[in-house]
């Protein structure tokens, strides 16, 4: 009787139920499909778009979608870590502007030949802004990261305006422009960048202790402290990472426009947060996945792209985008209920 992990009433993992074999197999298939989760949702939306607009599925347009979603996706990957710790980073949009402007100025004024240095510079400036956010929150014992990151939202925009004098700085090094616009075949480099970043974040979250600590802090901050997780350090690190992602997004934005300009990234934080939440993460912390986040960013990108392809006027775009977001998430709610339902039915089947 010292069974430890007997799944009460559950079937042995290999045998898919004994009773109604056929039905059970159907269930199994349905369950597999439903378990695709957010990806299923994305496929659905893509299908709708493809039906409405014939050019939607052209490789070139898909490249466009990827390119357009890439900035939000990069920000969202950083935001994901922050949100898993039950935090929020409102500053990312402004940090795009600040880091691209500072890096661009630095390169221009020092007259550096090796223009690629602008790339690490942007990431660095972004990381610095994130370090300030995290330190103010953690060491300054502010009650919620909303406050320091809102302050950074303002300060970074101000700094961007100040150091640039309000003027855009046009002309980026080749390397930056390549990241922003070059394609390998129809695949934009920026999309590959997102993919690489996603793999890194995914590995950290799922395979590395640090990532587990991030989930632990979001699940039970005081508990994490008690079991000896370096809560402060981990918390600061996610803000630094989010800032670095903003710096990376700055590279893409600068490359896309061949310039740095002080109003860049305006309101991007909202899209990034929306992507993460649409992707199934919780504002209360402890939950969220890389796949979900990417899907969230792509859902926003696909809907926007579809509306543009259909030349929907901007006032209608607001209405349509808002409605589409709600419908998308509502569908996911239904999907996950269906999943639970199917699983219960399957358990039932296998018992009888």
């Amino acid at each position: 009787m010292t069974v430890t992990t007997d799944r009460i009433g559950a079937p042995p993992p290999d045998a898919p139920g004994r009773g109604a074999q056929g039905r059970s197999r159907g269930l199994f298939a349905a369950l597999t499909v439903v378990r695709l989760g957010p990806v299923l949702l994305l496929l659905l939306i893509v299908a709708v778009m493809a039906l409405i607009s014939p050019v939607f599925l052209s490789p070139f347009n898909l490249g466009n979608v990827g390119l357009e979603a890439s900035v939000v996706a990069i920000l969202a990957l950083g935001q994901l870590l922050v949100i898993i710790t039950a935090g929020i980073d409102l500053s990312v949009g402004s940090v795009i502007a600040m880091s691209s402007i500072i890096a661009a100025l630095w390169i221009r004024d020092l007259d550096l030949v090796s223009g690629w240095l602008v790339i690490p510079s942007m990431v660095l400036v972004g990381g610095l802004a994130g370090a300030i956010n995290g330190t103010l929150y953690v060491k300054g014992k502010l009650p919620h990261p909303f406050l320091p990151t809102l302050a950074m939202l303002m300060v970074a925009r101000g700094v961007a305006l100040l150091v640039s004098g309000g003027q855009p700085i046009t002309g980026m090094p080749e390397s930056v422009n390549a990241i922003g616009s070059a394609r390998i075949g129809q695949m934009p480099l920026a999309v590959l960048l997102v993919a690489g970043l996603a793999v890194v974040v995914g590995v950290v979250l799922r395979r590395i202790t640090w990532g587990q600590w991030i989930y632990a802090i979001g699940g039970n901050r005081e508990g994490a402290r008690r079991v000896g997780v370096p809560v402060n350090r981990v918390t600061i690190s996610v803000y630094v990472f989010s800032g670095m992602c903003a710096g990376t997004a700055a590279i893409v934005v600068s490359g896309q426009t061949n310039s740095a300009y002080p109003t860049a990234g305006n309101l991007m934080e909202l899209s990034a947060i929306a992507a993460v939440i649409i992707g199934g993460a919780s504002f209360f912390g402890g939950r969220g996945t890389v796949i979900g986040t990417l899907v969230g960013a792509l859902i926003l990108g696909v809907i926007q792209n579809g509306l543009n392809l259909m030349n929907v006027p901007s006032s209608w775009q607001y209405v349509a985008l808002g409605t589409a977001v709600v419908i998308a998430v509502e569908l996911d709610v239904l999907r996950s209920r269906l999943e639970t339902r199917l699983r219960t039915v399957r358990t039932e089947e296998s018992e009888s």
Binding site: T4, G223, R226
Partner: protein, 270 residues
């Protein structure tokens, strides 16, 4: 505070842990009003007392969750500052808290190993690769010892029953304590068999792993079964000590409820 309070739990081996004059205030509430406590080597000390007596506060001060306003903590005779849970853990102190401190969003194995993750390569703390397989194997073994039924080791702890949750917390602390194990009502939610297993474990631990145990419990039977010494608190003070046995139970209960006061007795203050 001038009443003579005998050092509690002085029996059994050299003292591993000593608390002297511990005071802890929360705003207008004085949770600890000058507590002395001594835990000997390989000793199991029962910490008893009414609800709100200050037991949990005392052990939280030992594990660095709270900082004492006054008083000293000595480990192996040397004064230490336990300013954070990490410090306590570095000293080999592990605890099961009354409110458990589990991670509802994580699975059983992760909960068991959080902060003690097995990684490859072993040394790297935060940056190591998680060795899930090793942790899974090990977790299975430990939980079997307590004979807890868990539906799935990969299930989220948030969905588990009260007793399952407590068992996980106990298994966790027992696994990692290397000097002092602190158990704050560890069997409150456990079933008959699971309780028996935990008490067995507690009884064997001092010898098997060379550690001392502080056990908080409201169950006199349990205290008599496993404790070498019993310290009774009331309203933030130690009001008496006794060696628990079927004969002294009556006395101890008397001290707890205040009907009868023991060794270091003292009238109610303010």
């Amino acid at each position: 505070m001038t009443a003579p309070i005998e050092p509690a739990g002085a029996a059994g081996g050299a003292p591993v842990l000593e608390i002297r004059g511990a005071v802890k205030r929360f705003g207008a509430v004085t949770a600890l009003a000058g507590v002395d406590l001594t835990v000997g080597h390989r000793q199991v000390v029962g910490l008893l007392g009414d609800n709100g007596a200050g037991k949990s506060t005392l052990i939280k001060a030992i594990t660095g969750v709270h900082q004492l306003d006054e008083g000293k903590i000595l480990l192996d005779g040397r004064e230490v500052t336990v300013d954070a849970p990490t410090t306590a853990r570095a000293h080999g102190i592990e605890a099961v808290y009354q409110d458990l401190a589990l991670f509802d969003n994580l699975d059983v194995v992760t909960n068991l190993y959080l902060g003690h993750e097995l990684t490859r390569p072993r040394g790297l703390r935060g940056l190591g690769w998680l060795d899930r397989r090793a942790m899974q194997r090990d977790a299975q073994e430990r939980l079997e010892k307590l004979q807890v039924h868990l539906p799935d080791l990969r299930g989220h702890v948030g969905l588990m029953s009260g007793g399952q949750r407590q068992a996980i917390a106990v298994a966790r602390a027992c696994a990692f304590a290397s000097r002092i194990l602190i158990l704050d009502e560890p069997t409150a939610a456990l079933g008959v068999r699971e309780t028996r297993n935990v008490l067995d474990t507690v009884r064997r631990l001092p010898e098997d792993h060379d550690i001392s145990v502080i056990l908080i419990s409201h169950n006199m039977d349990h205290v008599v079964q496993v404790c070498d010494d019993a310290v009774v608190m009331r309203q933030g003070r130690v009001v008496g000590t006794a060696v628990p046995s079927p004969e002294t139970v009556e006395d101890i209960v008397g001290m707890i409820v205040g009907a009868k006061e023991g060794a270091g007795q003292k009238g109610r203050s303010a």
